[in-house]
């Protein structure tokens, strides 16, 4: 059976995917996970999860390209640049 292992480096931090391993049962998985991801003191906790238990989602439909749902949908940098350009040419026009 394949297991996915997640490790937490320090208390309070999110668990991150560390890798996967093959083991005959949960006990072996736990012991191998410790060897792979905990032996050098690099983790303070592990989640060992049978791969079958993971629900994978990978289709994200966005037919109408509604990028305004996303933070990066608005490019503030571009808007600022354009605003500065407008303001700059307005100042130039006024000075004339």
């Amino acid at each position: 059976m394949i297991y996915e292992v997640f490790r937490q480096e320090r208390k309070g931090q999110p668990f991150q995917h560390a890798g996967s391993l093959e083991a005959a049962n949960h006990d072996f998985a736990e012991s191998y996970a410790k060897e792979f991801y905990g032996r050098r003191g690099e983790s303070q906790a592990l989640w060992v999860v049978p791969r079958e238990a993971i629900i994978e989602v990978e289709d994200f439909v966005d037919e109408l390209n509604r990028n305004y749902h996303r933070v990066d949908g608005y490019s503030l940098k571009d808007k600022l640049r354009r605003a500065r350009e407008r303001a700059g040419s307005a100042l130039v026009a006024r000075d004339r």
Binding site: L21, E22, A23, A24, D27, F28, S31, Y32, E35, F36, R39
Partner: protein, 192 residues
């Protein structure tokens, strides 16, 4: 430490050194990667235990851990015959692992009760790592206990665990040659 404890410690150190060496022969060729890593780690631990015990003993004897580990003749080792065997069969290696860890637990338990704090402390430290080895051995036992090849290996190896330590297998001689080869060669300019 009393004489009995010193004798027992030397037996454990020799067992752990030689078993660690034998177990490490699986490194890179174990049946699958996860077990390769786990078993290699156990082998490393055993050699670490041997070193710690040799260091403790060498302080009492005014020598060094390396001298104790490598400068004796094969006949002077106090290892049990079961650890000396080269076991290229997986089921026999696991059977030895299981038998050895059980016997090892008993003698460590005794040393943990020592009046000498250095002995009791080291035994306790080693035992905390051995607890993991015992878990590993128990998992394999649970998986293989109904496999005829495994039970046959247990029956076959048990007598070697109980056999005395005065006589050794011919395989110890071969292992000793390998184990001490670099040290005996004394390349020019080396200081150990």
């Amino acid at each position: 430490m009393n004489e009995q404890e010193a004798r027992s410690l030397l037996e454990i150190a020799d067992d752990e050194l030689i078993l660690g060496w034998r177990d490490s022969e699986w490194t890179g060729i174990a049946p699958f990667l996860e077990e390769d890593v786990a078993f290699s780690s156990i082998a490393q631990n055993e050699i670490g235990h041997a070193r710690a015990i040799y260091e403790l003993l060498s302080r009492e004897r005014g020598t060094t851990a390396d001298e104790l580990a490598f400068d004796r003749s094969p006949g002077e080792y106090r290892s049990a015959r079961i650890v000396e065997l080269r076991l290229p069969e997986g089921e026999r290696t696991v059977a030895r692992h299981y038998l050895y860890e059980q016997a090892d637990a008993t003698r460590l338990e005794r040393l943990k009760q020592s009046n000498d704090p250095a002995v009791a402390g080291l035994a306790a430290k080693i035992d905390r790592e051995e607890a993991y080895h015992r878990m590993h051995a128990a998992m394999w036992f649970d998986r293989l206990e109904h496999e005829p090849r495994f039970t046959a290996a247990l029956d076959d190896l048990q007598p070697l665990l109980d056999a005395g330590r005065d006589e050794h297998t011919s395989e110890l001689q071969e292992l000793w040659e390998e184990m001490t080869m670099v040290r005996r060669s004394q390349p020019v300019g080396t200081a150990w």
